[in-house]
């Protein structure tokens, strides 16, 4: 009997649905252990300064205080963390590099006592010149943030350019082919422009928090992270512990979107637990979370050359990222911006240069699509501009240039699986192209991003003596639905009902290794390692059945929930109990590494395809999104409703960045580090109509031809909105977010801000 798809491909209710609607689902923030104490962080009130003195005397006398930790207490640990460069101090050491940086941790018997005492810690600074703007930071006379560079510790498998080395350059990346100069010289039209993508706060609703417990078995940390194994690596290094003595446990995660990739507050909680010998819980507020991680803002200078027929001849991009005070993940964000800015178009000659720049601002890291929305905004708007100037329909111009299925997007990388011309056709139909003269206009954007991260994954499946199964994975459930999708895959492979399958995830003390939960990889990569584990378990079960029934293994076949021995069905339970005599279990293992189907990178090309219809209130500049269309080009939807959920969520998050969201620095500090001033989308921002299309061509390397989702919906939406507004107003925006104020100004000026001297040559 073979495994005809029946559990996969169906919108089976989420396995965590009931726990989540009843309040039973526990998040890290909900956990407590007996005897636990609480940490409150003292934060820098300067953007750049030497720390002359930290006076903790009066705070120490405050009721309930257990201990106060500063950078001076980190002598016996490795005081830095970072997965690419070891430059992020657990607490500022001698110098502070941004306003809001952790300087001390006050540990007390209650949260109130800790918070109260933290306000009594006095820090004496000697101010240094600071720089918060990336272009300023590149100037010769700019203050240098890192005169000495941190040690490079990057994992193999990080596709992340090279370290910068000099000045304030955090990292560099480039991509080149063809002869750009002769390309531009031969072009009939060359357009230029400078595009700005804002600094964003991901606002995962569960703020950063961690509970660290140090005991005879080593360290256990319960935390709201996406990548428990990356956190384990940081903590093991900091405390000089073997991996086996560091257990990172991730319960339900209240939103990730990339913002909970890599270590955040875990190192501080871990060191505090080690130094006090007590369980320490550190919970940050939203304002503190904003001062922990934000996304890289980008300035993209773009130049594109076309023939009169609208064919691309050459493109050149210069990308500058404002990456904040420490390296974190900006090198990967920059590399991804480089790989995606020119879009999935045949580009005969290309030159891309990226500089990620240190500034005295909150450290930047991943956020949904990391790098792709920034680059795509520039690249797609130029496709639109070219279409208009050449008098070619924008969909037609894109079609003439799109990379077809099976063609390379980047030489030497995996060829594109998707059929973008078909996707574009669907999207174009959905947005309907109303006449801008009547007050509504459409816009769309496309992107293909190199997703899946590094393919390194392991999975275990335990078939218990009663025939039920537990699958152990290192993938984190952060809302995307991995537990449900993986349970569907295991149930499908073992042909068991969903009720008999449980997923155990993200516990480095129990479960198997997973590189990350990011870059939309889980269904594709973990799905395949779990499939392999199920097949391994099946193989073992056939062998056991053959032994028990004394037949050749060839006469045993797989069957739903069991095996067929010479045509007779025997349940998993019967086989296992028969072989062991009593109890027992079968453990299947699966592993994915960079070979076979996964030899080529990227693991898959994640398609971003979004279109909108907008209208604008000409008195206020307020933009209304009347329709939002997305395409989930996912190969095969293991759970279609959850793919829609990913696309809708990513699209609305992208809409927030397009219309409202931006962290703003004024002087040395943020002007809007809270949810009143930093406005995220709410119910009333929901577009009047949503059209979520699903495209299934079974062209991915994931199980049943699937490939990832989750970021695509948001990658292209900034470009789609700006394109629609340009069509509607006759002025071309080049900066997000398109707040009412900005749109109103565009209307008043009646011209494109930062207009470059571009002309038909």
């Amino acid at each position: 009997m073979d495994n005809k798809p029946q559990i996969v491909g169906r919108s089976i209710p989420r396995v965590d649905g009931v726990a989540k609607v009843t309040g039973a689902a526990k998040f890290a923030i909900d956990l407590s252990v007996p005897g636990m104490v609480f940490g409150a962080v003292v934060r820098s009130e300067r953007a750049h300064a030497e720390i002359i003195d930290i006076d903790t005397r009066s705070a120490e006398q405050s009721p309930g205080v257990v201990r106060i930790i500063t950078g001076r207490d980190l002598d016996n640990v490795v005081p830095y963390f970072g997965h690419i460069v070891l430059d992020h101090p657990i607490l500022a050491i001698e110098r502070t590099l941004y306003y809001g940086e952790p300087i001390a941790l006050v540990i007390a018997r209650s949260q109130q006592a800790a918070t109260h005492a933290a306000s009594q810690v006095e820090v004496e600074y000697r101010e240094l010149p600071y720089v918060t703007d990336a272009l300023e930071a590149l100037k010769d006379d700019a203050p240098i943030l890192h005169p000495q560079r941190g040690e490079v510790v990057r994992d193999l498998g990080f596709d992340a350019g090279e370290e910068g080395g000099s000045g304030n350059i955090c990292s560099l990346a480039s991509l080149d082919w063809g002869n750009v100069d002769s390309g531009f010289a031969a072009a009939d039209l060359v357009i230029e422009g400078e595009f700005r993508y804002p600094m964003l706060y991901g606002y995962a609703m569960e703020p950063y928090n961690a509970l660290a417990v140090s005991g005879e078995d080593g360290l256990t940390v319960y935390t709201t992270t996406q990548h428990p194994y990356m956190v384990r690596k940081d903590l093991a290094r900091i405390l000089s512990l073997p991996f086996a003595k560091v257990r990172v446990v991730v319960p339900y995660v209240g939103g990730g979107y990339g913002t909970k990739s890599y270590s955040k507050i875990e190192p501080l909680a871990a060191v505090a637990a080690q130094l006090t010998g007590l369980p320490v819980k550190v919970v940050l507020g939203v304002e503190e979370s904003i001062h922990t991680t934000r996304s890289d803002s980008a300035i993209v200078r773009a130049r594109s050359g076309y023939t009169a027929q609208g064919l691309l001849v050459a493109r050149a991009f210069e990308i500058v990222l404002n990456s904040g005070a420490y390296t974190d993940n900006s090198p990967q964000v920059g590399q991804k911006a480089v790989n995606t800015c020119f879009g999935p178009y045949r580009t005969p000659a290309l030159s891309v240069r990226m500089r990620s720049v240190f500034t005295n601002t909150v450290p930047a890291s991943s956020l949904r699509g990391f790098g792709t929305p920034q680059g795509t905004f520039a690249g797609e708007l130029q496709m639109d501009e070219a279409a208009e100037r050449l008098g070619i329909d924008p969909v037609e111009l894109r079609k003439r240039n799109l990379v077809g299925p099976g063609e390379e997007v980047i030489p030497g990388k995996r060829a594109l699986e998707a059929n973008l011309p078909e996707d574009l056709e669907l999207l174009s139909k959905s947005v309907d192209w109303p006449d801008p003269g009547e007050g509504r206009a459409s816009g769309l954007g496309l992107s293909a991003s190199d997703s899946g991260a590094y393919p390194s994954s392991t999975a275990l499946v335990r078939i218990h003596a009663d025939g039920s199964a537990s699958a152990l994975v290192g993938a984190t459930e952060m809302g995307q639905g991995s537990r449900t999708v993986l349970a569907q895959i295991a149930a499908q492979e073992l042909a068991l009902p969903m009720e008999l399958v449980t997923i155990v995830s993200s516990d480095t003390g129990i479960g198997p290794f997973e590189q990350t939960t990011g870059a939309s990889r889980t269904t594709t990569v973990v799905g395949r390692s779990l499939q392999a584990a199920c097949q391994d378990a099946r193989r073992q079960l056939r062998a056991l059945a053959a032994e028990v029934h004394e037949v050749a293994v060839e006469s045993v076949q797989d069957a739903p929930g069991g095996v067929l021995v010479d045509g007779t069905w025997r349940s998993f339970a019967e086989v296992i109990q028969g072989w062991f005599g009593a109890g027992g279990e079968v453990i299947g293992t699966g592993a994915i590494r960079r070979s076979g189907d996964f030899a080529e990178t990227p693991v898959f090309w994640e398609i971003g395809a979004a279109g909108v219809i907008v209208s604008v209130d000409r008195d206020t500049g307020e933009v209304s999104v009347e329709k939002l269309a997305t395409i989930g080009d996912v190969g095969f939807a293991i759970n279609p409703a959850m793919v829609h959920g990913q696309d809708a969520g990513a699209a609305l998050m992208g809409l927030g960045a397009a219309l409202h969201e931006e962290l703003v620095y004024e002087g040395e500090m943020l002007t809007n580090p809270n949810l009143v001033d930093y406005r995220v989308p709410r119910f009333e921002d929901l577009p009047r109509e949503m059209d979520q299309m699903l495209v299934e061509r079974q062209d991915g390397v994931g199980p049943y031809g699937s490939k990832g989702a989750g970021e695509g919906g948001g990658n292209a939406i900034g470009a789609a909105i700006a394109s629609a507004i340009a069509r509607l107003l006759g002025v071309r925006p080049r900066e997000l977010p398109l707040t009412s104020e900005r749109v109103w100004r565009l209307l008043q000026d009646g011209r494109i801000p930062r207009e470059a001297d571009d002309d038909l040559s």
Binding site: D30, E206, M690
Partner: protein, 159 residues
Amino acid sequence: MSARKISFVLNRRPQETEIDDSVLLLDFLRDRGLTGAKPSCEMEVCGSCTILIDGLPFSACTTLAVEVEGRTVETIEGVARNGELHPIQEAFVERFAMQCGFCTPGMVLTAKALLESNPDPSRDDILHWMEGNICRCTGYESIVEAILSAAAKAGTGDG
């Protein structure tokens, strides 16, 4: 700081307790293991800490525990009865109206209060009523659908 004795009803059970004047209702509930109400913005913007007081949604992050004296408080833990989901909870599960689930307790309670005061809300009524609850995951559409479907099911009796 001074303590006060208060009596109120919590998830259908009368309570009498001594409580400090300055303790927030959110901390009071969470310290008793009722962790369904979640802290997030802590400034009455996001709705993740929503509880119902006398049937109406409030932010527990900006309510003092002593303010519930003599009133009826319902948290997410009190919505399902004897293991039976409330229709609005069922609709959330059926319509995939949650992802990470962090906002979900607040969403369910606010939606429950809506349907109790307006059993047949329009789409715009829903958008307006739910405006104080943020969800960063779902994009809202599935939540709107869940509320509409719960209302439709409840309304099938009177056509």
